[in-house]
Amino acid sequence: MIYEGKKKIWSDYQKDIPDDHYFYVRSCIRQTFFPASEAAFLEITRNRLGKDVFETEHHTTCGGIAYHCDTIPQETSMTIIARQFALMHKYGYENFVCSCVTSFGLYCETLEAWREFPELKEKIAENLLKSCGLEFAVPKVLIHSSDLIYKYRNPIAALAKFKLVNKKTGKPLRVVEHIGCHYSKMFPSKGVGGAEYPYVLIGMIEAWGGEIIDYPERRHCCGFGFRQYFVQANRGYSLANTNKKFESMEPYNPDMIITNCPGCSYFMDKWQYVIAEMNHKTYGEDGHGIPVFTYEEVAGLVMGYDPWDLGLQTHLVGPEPVLDKIGIPYDSDAKYKGVNGKNIGKPEEVDCIK
């Protein structure tokens, strides 16, 4: 990667990210598989950085999964989205931050469609009023939660107890960053750094001391793709995409992977087990996989949160090699203990991957 050239591209793709006062909506997938990531996001922004991030229990899914699987019409998903925006307006906010990259893409697509087709916008406003009795509104600023952590990367670095540096060798950890396709491939101007070389995660990794790996399939999809995955017979295609990415990054010996998309975190983590079962191959050191993290988990780790409070026990590929390299203390016996020492259940052990 020619760094100077990329800086020029990144400077062309900067977006307005207000400093404070956000209405927050969660992600369906992340609440299920990495629930502690969203908790960490709220904990860091609200309690450590003192920002106003509001969420309400009344918000729902954005309808993205059903929309991309072609099971609901576009107007239905637009009305669901209009309801989210209306809730934001009702609670007195103008800045909208969402946790999910699929939702972010769909929100961008919807706003663009409303801008292009005002009659559609009117129809959705009417649907919203009839179905929910809410007043139609659009956000002044729409961002993804990784944008906000990117914005706060330096304050987080200032509060950090650890750096993404190998404690024994003193060298930066080698990090693969993976951006969800719907973050900026659909609307490059809506993502920090554009579509080809998005800067959003690179900025965080640089601020927290890590080294970026540039590898051939860096911008390749993780393989999630709703239609590929939800039909069992098509999952081999999804898996082949992930396999291609891992084969491509393997020669660069990455220490960890950071993603900003719920599906990517999930698939790059879980597929490593399936690949190990099918191909008897692992991509980390000594039979380990490559640990996959969300950006909030990494922010929490460098700020000194307990790894198990950040939900790292929910990852299939154990995070311990990375914790050991950075020198983050952890209690192995407490890995599967929840609040008040309650046993949360230990997953079945497998031989093919550590």
């Binding site: 069992q232 017979a233 098509n234 999952r235 081999g236 295609y237 898996l239 082949a240 396999n243 291609k244 399936v274 690949i275 079962e277 099918m278 191909n279």
Partner: protein
Amino acid sequence: MTDFGYSINTSSRMNLDDFDKESFDKLAEMEPDVRKCMACGSCTASCTAGKFHETSLRSAILALQNGQEGKAIDFLKGCMLCGKCTMVCPRGINTRHLILSILKVYGTK
């Protein structure tokens, strides 16, 4: 192994470094018309053998350019040398002769 109900799909990735320029130049020397092909597919559309066997001169030429000689030969195995493709080629390529030349250069691989 656990039965997942699916397996890893084979990659369709091509490595252009595998392109054998020397052999292709040799073929072009014997049969300069190989460079004339514009991949319109008329030969494939008119192919009698193609109805029963995966036979396609267009795909064979493309496979050669992508460094997939084995695949190219497979595309020509069903050819009966009837010559219908020669009659429909808009570039006037002697396709029958070209097929024989491809087999002469790559046939032993």
